[in-house]
Each structure stands twice: as C-alpha cells, then as structure tokens.
Amino acid sequence: MTEPLIELRDITFTYPGAARPVFQDFNFQLLPGKHLGLVGPNGSGKTTMLHLIMGLLRPQAGKVVIFGREVSKERNFVEVRRQVGLLFQNADDQLFCPTVLEDVAFGPLNQGKSPAEAVGIARMTMLQLGLEGFEDRVTYKLSGGEKKLVSLATVLAMQPKILLLDEPTTGLDDQTRRRLIRILKDLEISYLIVSHEHEFLEHTVKECCHVHSTFCETLPIPPRGVGL
C-alpha cells in the first residue's frame, strides 16, 4: 500500500470555550496523486481540518502525519509549510504586500531564494496562471476574481507538493471559475478542495470526503444535494 501524503490519526480537537469537540478520534488520509473534495455542512470542521494539517491549530489528542513523518512541533510544521500550500477562504487575508509581484515573491524569498530568483519564479507562476502584466498592480485594488487568482499564484510560487484550497470559488463569476478549473486540471500535484459547489467539484475531483466529527466518508462521486 502506498504511504499517504497526509494522515490524521485519532485527532481530537475542541475550540477553546466550545461545548463540543469539532473532531473526536477523527481519521483521514490523502493518498499520493489524489484529487479530493471535502464536503460537509457549515461548521462541520472542513477549514479546521486544513488548519490542523498546516499546524495553525494543534489537536488536543492524536497525530498529524505528513509525508510519513509525525509533525507536532512548530519547527516541523515550518518544514511542512514549505511543501504544502494553503489557499485561504478570503483572498484579502492572503495578500498583504503593496504590489502583486512582491506578494507572489514573498513565499520564495522566505524559502531562501535570492531576490532575482524569487522574481523569476513569481513571473513564471503568474505567466502559468495567465496573470502576466499584473506585476505592479496594487493588491488591494484588484477585483475579487483577480485577488483569488493572485492568491493562488502566491501559494503556487512556493512550488508545493500538496495544495489545500478552502472554498476557492466563493464569490467568483463563471468565467473566473472556469479559469480556476482549467488551472487545477493542469496541476500535477495532489490537492484537497473544500467546496459547497457540486458542479465545481465534479470538474476538479474524482472523490469526495464527507466530513463528520469522527470520520471522513469517502464517496466516489460528489453526493448531489447532500449537505452541499
């Protein structure tokens, strides 16, 4: 059996002050090469799951295993974050540099690339996403769709091995949504998409995981109408 890229083992997580846990002995696996959708009603813990994987939240019990290694300390998660990219739900949270080029180059610079290399990677990533000519645009003046694509560029510029997308289609028009679908189809890495949109998932993933508090139920095709 192939080793999973991401594995959550018997995770228990409760938000501080919350009455009941989001996850109780929760298990999940992402196998190499998989494109997986995460579905479930609001508040079922989809975003929480992504944040647990990235180490933004720490479980009270259980193990987070990524690339076959258990990660529990900040030090280890720093390494994880170099290889796993997370696209936030709200693009405004992700973009913080004045110009698009600087924002896209931010990740590569943090990875220790020289400014010239970082700019090269940033330009290449932007070209790949059809964002050429956006270099000097001011990030907070972009439209909603542009912001989303630029955010994706900032994550992909780090050349991650796994991509996690948190409701990437919220507020996007049809054209941008189609563009996003094309981009995702061209990617050669595994990804995990949290989405409530049946049609979008149909185009981007083969399997869906229905998130419950104790387990993840994998279904071959996106379950139409169930909790979507």
């Binding site: 720093v78 913080f96 943090n110």
Partner: protein
C-alpha cells in the same frame, strides 16, 4: 478604492529621485536638531533649508500650505494660552490678562519649530511612498520591528477604514441616524468594539497566511536602492548646512 492618499509621494523632481536612505538620515538629523534648538537664528536657518528642499521637490504650494494650515490650527490654541501664562516682563494687556515678552517669544519659537519641521518632513519624507520608506529604514539597519510596524500600520489602515465603512453602511441602510441620545452612543460603542474585534481577527488570519508561506519574522525586500553621485552631494550639502545650524545654536547667544 484607496482611502489614504499620498499626494506628495509621486513626482519626478530631484527630491523624488534621491535615494530615500539619504533623505531619511537627513530628515532624522534635521528634525532632532530643530526640535532641541532654542535660538531663532538656528531655526530661521533650518526654515530656509527646509524651504529650499520644498522648492526642489516642486510640491504644489497650495497643498503644502493646506498641510501647514492643519498643523497651525493646533498651534493657534497655544497662542491663546501660553503668552498669558508664561512668567516674565509684561508686554501687552488684554482685559484682565497680561502677555509676557518671554511668553510671546516662547510661543513664537514653538510655532517656528513646528512649521520648520513639518516643511522639512514634507519635502524629505512625504516625497517617498511609505512602503519605500519602510524598506529604506530596513536597509539602514533600523530595528526590524520598527520597520514592520510602519509597513503594517500603513497597509492595514486601508483595511481598517474599509471595515469601518462597511459597518457604518450596514448601520445606515437599517435607518441609523446619529442623534444625541443613548441609542446613538451605544451604537457607536458597538461599532468601535466590532471594528476592534474584526481587525484583531483579520490580523490573526493575515499572520496565519504569512506563516503558511514560510514567514519567520524577516522581511526580504525586492527593492534595491542605488546610491548615486547626486545623493552624496545632497547628503554632504545638507549635513554641512545642519552643522552650520548646530554651530549657530551653540554660539547663538554670542552672535546675537
């Protein structure tokens, strides 16, 4: 949509083209010297220098005066109080109040100081975008925290303002009209509190997003500054003039 404008930061004048690092250094020395100066001669020298910079920067006179007016509207209040409360030889009597010579001189000094510093900063600091200033400070090896504080404060003022606009619009469309009553005060208090909570939340999420992209407390800048001959000339001339001002400050008592 950009609520904060930096009208002086764009331009092609000599002052705009100077290396921001030189400008930051000169601006810092200049403001410290002017702030501690006690002699009119020094301040007039500084004022002349600042006016030359302002002219070099070709900033619109109208806009510059507008900013000065704003500062001086605060200083006006000093003129109402200081001359009449400062002990010294009486000079003018207004009703029951007596203005002292020393008081008037002191208030004049403050007025001159503030205007000189504002003009100087307008010419040297406002002629570079805030972001560039932050990067210049960083490359001058000022503490990282200070530079980050400046950059983030600037960046998130927009977010703060937009959030405020959104909240106050939400209040308006539900028929809120500010009046002098408890309901109004309470609503404004809610607005302020909500703004605080939301901004805190957002700051949290932005930080998380940064951490996910490998942020570990150090900013790398794509900007490289190039120091040119005109920067050396500007620095040398400014420092010499400032040294002259300092000399006048020390010897001021003897000169007058």
């Amino acid at each position: 949509m950009s609520p904060i404008q930096e009208p002086f930061s764009e331009g092609g004048s000599l002052l705009h083209r100077l290396d921001p690092r030189g400008k930051v250094v000169v601006a810092a020395l200049f403001s410290v010297l002017m702030a501690v100066a006690t002699s009119f001669v020094t301040l007039l020298g500084g004022l002349a220098l600042a006016l030359i910079w302002l002219a070099l920067g070709r900033l619109g006179l109208k806009k510059a005066l507008g900013r000065l007016l704003l500062v001086n509207s605060f200083i006006v209040f000093l003129w109402f109080v200081l001359p009449f409360t400062y002990p010294g030889e009486s000079l003018v009597k207004v009703g029951p109040l007596t203005a002292s010579r020393e008081g008037i001189a002191f208030t004049g000094l403050i007025t001159l100081k503030s205007n000189t510093i504002i003009i100087g900063l307008m010419a040297l600091v406002a002629t570079a975008p805030v972001v560039t200033l932050g990067q210049a400070m960083h490359s001058l090896r000022l503490p990282d925290k200070l530079c980050h504080l400046l950059l983030f404060t600037y960046r998130y003022l927009h977010v703060f303002e937009l959030e405020y606009q959104r909240l106050s619009q939400a209040m308006k469309i539900r028929g809120f009209q500010p009046r002098t009553n408890i309901h109004t005060y309470r609503s404004y208090a809610y607005l302020a509190a909500m703004l605080l909570v939301r901004s805190y939340d957002r700051a949290d999420r932005v930080f998380q997003a940064m951490v996910c992209r490998g942020f570990h407390g150090v900013f790398y800048s794509l900007k490289t500054f190039s120091w040119q001959r005109r920067d050396s000339v500007f620095l040398a001339v400014s420092l010499l003039t400032l040294a002259l001002c300092l000399y006048m400050e020390i010897e001021g008592a003897n000169l007058l």
